[in-house]
Amino acid sequence: MQITITVNGAVYKREVEPRLLLIHFLRDDLRLTGSHWGCDTSNCGACVVWLDDIPVKSCTVLAAMADGHRVLTVEGLERGGQLDPVQEGFAQCHGLQCGFCTPGMMLTARWLLDHHPDPSPAEIREAISGQICRCTGYENIVRSILWASQHASWGQPDAGGDPVNGGGDPGGAEVTA
């Protein structure tokens, strides 16, 4: 079947099998390997991406289900070479060790901060409770997200722009390769 999915503002048309999982579509068909394929059982959260405006575990969503929808991956967090404060926070606070859980953690963090700009450490822990860091570096992940909460984001209304639709950034060019 043919599907059309807008990923990080770019439109992709591809022929896929209906059984193809969204995580494999992103990594293998689009070569967007920032999203990680981890446990394959919707436990670890390394594969979290946004489907429209909601974080989902992309190992448990068919690419066909995303046909006609928008997807945001970790590659879409930065803009014009400028890191999202969540990414900056992970760098500042040593929020990653091996980096495997990082893309999913960041996308959940961005969603949390868009909806709860001033979360407590307990609220952050609850938000990432469906995601596993195999280095067990949770302390620094929480610290990184707190850091981001104290720094303005282009993803927030006062800074303008929309991380998925591209805001003022003409990122919607069709990619047919």
């Binding site: 394959d40 059982t41 909601i54 448990t60 969503v61 289900m65 469906g130």
Partner: protein, 333 residues
């Protein structure tokens, strides 16, 4: 690497269209809602449907509404998807209605649902994890009919009603008649679970069975207690309770049990014991004992039978206690 077997994919544009697709593709077609039970089953090849009928686009199945009832806070539904609405009829006897495609996160975000039935929020907070709750649906959980499913026990405690639509029209089934076996429900091939309805006050039929003599003066409360090994896991055991009190007397009681082999996810014998009894700690403890006696847990990697039976007793008692405290704190009808 876990990959589903070959499957055909159809996207439904309306409930009628979904019913047509189910009729056309026959009993090997499956409805795909959130997919957070079905897709893992397909990846393990425990389920191999020939055709998936994707209903995720059906906004008409995603809502939380209160009909013909009184909302004590004057609130409006929150996070109810496309169609959240409150009709302030100002009289008792209304219903909370939950569209089958409502996501777990939407039910958890609904202030009105939590105010009417705190058990719904208690249970939702411990179902899977926040990301899974974003996409998994209420109807999907119920139709998966896992014997350890939390909402099955929750709706059993609340004596909810399921609305099912098929080619012959719409029918309603009590939550306690919904499950026929593990992973089996009364929803036949070609049918769709549409809605879950919860009476805001005890149903008229309960008056004959027990002490409910009209809704005036009743205070209601509900709660859910679960023991799991970690975030996102199925319960080792869970218990839900819904109580209606008139003064210190229990006018009506509902008790749900999950993961311990309780018939229809309910503890009917314990409910019978409580109906008409005084709301005391001793009676709640006794109800817990009765519930534990009548359930039928199996030993597995989550624990032996005696441990699960102990949990059934203790969690039933705790849920009843917490439901009573909430009933005492809430307004009288």
């Amino acid at each position: 690497m876990q990959v589903p077997a070959q499957v055909e994919y159809e996207r439904a544009a309306s409930v009628e269209h979904a019913l047509d697709l189910l009729a056309r593709f026959g009993p090997e077609a499956r409805i795909l809602a959130g997919g957070h039970s079905l897709i893992p089953m397909m990846k393990l090849r425990l389920a191999q449907p020939e055709t998936l009928v994707d209903i995720n686009g059906l906004a008409e199945l995603s809502y939380l509404s209160v009909t013909n009832g009184r909302v004590t806070n004057g609130g409006v539904t929150n996070g109810g998807g496309t169609n959240g609405r409150v009709t302030n009829g100002g009289v008792a006897g209304g219903e909370l209605r939950i569209g089958a495609l409502t996501r777990h996160a939407q039910l958890l975000d609904s202030a009105v649902a939590g105010e009417l039935f705190a058990i719904l929020h208690d249970a939702e907070k411990v179902i899977a994890d926040p990301i899974v709750r974003n996409w998994g649906t209420i109807g999907g959980s119920l139709c998966q009919a896992d014997p350890s499913e939390d909402l099955s026990a929750t709706f059993a405690a609340l004596k909810a009603t399921m609305v099912i639509r098929g080619p012959q029209g719409t029918r309603t089934v009590s939550a306690r008649d919904f499950h026929t076996a593990p992973y089996e429900t009364v929803v036949a091939p070609g049918e769709i679970l549409m809605e879950i309805r919860i009476a805001i006050r005890p149903a008229r039929g309960d008056q004959k069975a027990g002490g409910v003599r009209g809704a005036r003066g009743l205070r209601g409360g509900s709660a859910y207690e679960k023991v799991g090994r970690r975030v996102g896991d199925w319960p080792v055991c869970a218990a839900g309770a819904a109580l209606w009190l008139r003064g210190d007397t229990i006018a009506e009681a509902g008790i749900g049990l999950s993961a311990v082999g309780a018939r229809h996810f309910a503890a009917a014998e314990a409910e019978d014991f409580l109906r008409g009894a005084t709301a005391t700690q001793e009676n709640f403890a006794r109800a817990g004992q009765i519930a534990a006696q009548h359930c039928n847990p199996s030993a597995d990697q989550r624990g032996p039978v005696d441990y699960k039976r102990h949990l059934a007793q203790e969690l039933t008692t705790r849920a009843l206690r917490r439901a009573m405290l909430r009933a005492a704190a809430g307004p009288a009808a």
